[in-house]
Symmetry: D2
Subunit: 323 residues, 4 copies
């Protein structure tokens, strides 16, 4: 439960898959007051694992936070697959902006991400605010390696899944869940049986949180080094969104919302609790998150779905992060 | 395409599964001006096949239309299953209202419903407005028995399926599609590849077409024999809806919309065209209709989804039918 | 049950998919004493439906039996697919041997194969010995069109399925079952619940019934018109079998065994009764027939599996047919 | 590859699930000359994880080998399920024989089994002969935690899976594979792509390796403490096998064969190499291992299937172990 000291100290671990919006999620987390980012754990997703680690280090460097430890986790899904997000976010997942002075790869810790998650949860029992913005492989492995891991978390927030059967990879599956449906299933069942997982689903991002291009252009014009970096890495994605008028005539982002609601739950405007499962077998629905709105299964809720958040607050958080 | 003579002559065949709202659908079709109901074909669904036939005959009798031929079709799904709708609509599917003078069962034609569909389509090529408000087994069988059958129809309208992954039997499947997912698949693929099928999905009925209880109580107070019959057969369903506040604090109906938009397309307020498929294999999504909103599959639309219709017009049609 | 008059009169209907071994099956049935072939019904399988009909007419012509009525049935599987057997049997399914004087296609009856099956079963209740050597689509449709159809048959024998998970199309599925798994499921459940279906599975043909090339060469050297036709249509298949040493260093055939055991049950050497089901959902096992050897499902047997038959008898039958 | 020093030093890790035949497997491994058992890792299977550990300690104690470190691994399958083997082997998996002086549970190492596997493979690269006789969860997790783990093994031998679609839990799935089909899939793909895994499938044990009851009674009459323990723990299983005449009129065992062929490959009489996959989606075939005998998938072999081994040698090994 949120105490009055909610903001007095926040220990955060981010589990990311190295895309442009993972970078934005990191930017929010790294700059929130009273928040200590204990670790960033990497998982293959938008790009392959090494590139995820490289992208994370790059963001940390731009934000002068290379002291935050970075851990490499799963390079493949539970079943052993990996399909990256293609060229939508750039070959490197962050807009293919050359990095003249990349951080050395050996800054990545030798400890495995899953081991780090288990260890940190033991060092800070009940304190870690875990936020996942990629496929859920690391979280699923952590549970299998230690069934008590979820119980040592403060809470879990993730971006992924869908609530109305709409998808961005297949017609009915969202990318993070589709990448590793088995892991998503394990997390919803294994963590969600202990406490409701806060989920920012795909439809919430693209249907209820339109960002006007004017607003976004203003954010991309912030002239600081951080602002310019933020603007640069998303140029490719923006031009794709503008060209194809993807989703609607507005800009949309995804992963930062998970960080925003995890760290500032007061920005939640509308949420609901429901029991959700992931389809593993479907021919055309594999990876779909199914919400049991009419309680056909008779199971207690395992997710708190974010339906509406206070978008201006998130944009303000982002602007501050870039200044 | 709709000609200016659209209303000059309408040949209709109804394929129904014998529930309360199938009865309403029949009432609309039987009383629309310029509409000739060539046949009513029956399929197991809400209730078993014999009861469907009995219910259809009963409605025809109340409406003094026993000359309309009734045909019995499939008693089981393509794969051989049958699960009725339970007691929601009453054991007999029409509120368990005793019928002191039931029409004799031998009024049902000896010709099989599928044979009748094939024959009628040959006698009236390009003229039949086929409306299906139950599981799609008969339509699937008709296609398999004669691949040219769909091409001899004027159009096909059906109530069934879902567009946002929401269901009324399982969390993600609508009853008519869930009863015979293989048949729904066959119809979407086999008919929809020739012309877009007009589909009234479940969510459209319960999300966008609230009928206030006051309005519905007025309709149920129509003092004619027809009106009293209509009111009687739905008492059980109404009390269930009121007790459980199913779906929302309003009344909802389903099947009559398919007849209304099939016969009076001018009441369509909002529709969209999309390619849709039915999940056959899913563990938790079997029977779900998946719409490819973002054209991931690159297939031409096979359905015209009814999103919004002019509800007052339908209620007026129903009132006239009952007077 | 087999009476002492078993051989006094045998009414047979063959349901075939037009391959070389379907032709052999026809040859056996057309030449057995005391056997009357009431009809040959055609189903898409090895080749498309029109070619199946053409092939059947061609065999009838060579055997001077064009009075046997031929009916066209399903051109697609229950779910609407069709994949032919490729060039293994020749493009035309019968070795691509030119037919200088083909029988006219209009010799095919206008009545649908399924209608003919239903009608004949009414005209000869309890007498028809139905033998199926292709995908089971027609039989599944017949059951759905008339649930009492199986009860009016004398017995049903089919070639198809597997008993040890070995396949010839995929690693675990046999061609006839794989072509229309839903139909195979429907037949095993819907017919097999009334009486055990006699099944000649794929493994029985290739594992337990080796025909030496010497023996087969002798049969192919029978100098009659029928013998030369029989030899000609399988040249292509034989050279493929010899070249690739398919299955083993011997010749194997398939469909004729179903006719042989259906008409002469005394040649059965080893059979067993078991409950069998068809996998419909599997990723790699779709179409596999699963036998419940250890009674895990607790269901009564629905098939009598042919494990061993008296091969010399079949070869003798074939030789006589060709003389 | 096997060197001439094959028997000069054998480092073995056993991964077991605590049943009677796991105990036999341990007995063989613990008593083979020139074999050093580095660790025994436990996985939930026949019984729950704590019971597995307890059973392993008990066997070690009877064999005076409590210095062998025991590690607890996965308590649930990758997807989070666990179904024990029921009362067939006794509630405790080892015949429910009271243990008056059980080894203390704290003899189990605090290190997780998967961590131990990874660590040991680093300490003894290329030397570990890994033998798995339970569900493959630990092995799948080890691969996901470190993709290089399989490459550091000497070889992998396992008991599990099936080669003719015959099962002992469902009609078509073997228990170890059925318990965790995803893990079995991961191991066949992830390990088998590096080197062929030696697999002792279920059918090999029950079809080709009958042990006469006389022979087995002799073994169970060995009067040593070890022999009496061995006899005691299997009394319940034996009486079940005798009563139900399971499989055949002979005794059958399973897990010890994996140890036998792993440590003494010269006893292999007949093996074959094939590419095998596990069905994950099937309705009735989930967990079935499918062998691609006819190379339909065009993939290199990932398993070496044990079809026949020299049974007297294994029985001699067992007798020696018990003396």
């Amino acid at each position: 439960m949120m105490s009055s000291k909610e903001h007095s100290r926040q220990l955060v671990v981010l589990d990311v898959d190295g895309g442009v919006d993972d970078a934005q999620a990191m930017m929010l987390a790294l700059t929130q007051p009273h928040v200590q980012v204990l670790a960033i754990t990497c998982v293959a997703g938008n790009v392959h694992l090494d590139q995820v680690c490289q992208n994370v280090l790059r963001v940390l460097k731009v934000f002068s936070r290379l002291e935050v430890p970075v851990f490499a986790g799963a390079s493949l899904s539970l079943l052993g697959t990996h399909v990256d997000a293609g060229h939508y976010l750039g070959q490197d997942g962050m807009g293919d902006v050359p990095d003249p002075d990349p951080p050395p790869a050996d800054l990545v810790q030798s400890e495995h991400a899953v081991s780090a998650l288990l260890r940190l949860s033991g060092e800070y029992p009940g304190e870690i605010n875990l936020i996942a913005t990629g496929p859920l492989t690391n979280l699923a492995l952590a549970l299998r390696m230690d069934p008590d891991f979820p119980a040592r978390l403060r809470k879990l927030t993730l971006m992924g899944g869908n609530i109305y059967g709409l998808g961005n990879v297949t017609p009915s599956a969202e990318y993070n869940f589709w990448c590793d449906p088995e892991a998503a299933h394990v997390v919803l069942e294994g963590y969600g049986s202990l406490f409701p997982i806060t989920v920012v689903p795909w439809e919430t991002c693209v249907q209820d949180h339109d960002i006007s291009w004017d607003t976004w252009d203003d954010i991309c014009a912030i002239p600081t080094e951080r602002g310019q970096f933020h603007a640069a890495i998303q140029q490719q994605m923006i031009s794709t969104q503008k060209k194809h008028r993807l989703f609607s005539a507005h800009f949309h982002t995804f992963d930062p919302y998970a960080v925003a609601v995890a760290l500032c739950p007061e920005i939640l405007c509308k949420t609901f609790y429901v029991y959700a499962r992931v389809e593993l077998k479907g021919d055309i629905t594999r990876g779909t998150m199914v919400c049991d709105y009419n309680d056909k299964w008779g199971k207690p809720p395992n997710v708190q779905v974010v339906k509406k958040l206070h978008l201006p607050s998130v944009l303000t958080m982002l602007c501050k992060a870039l200044e």
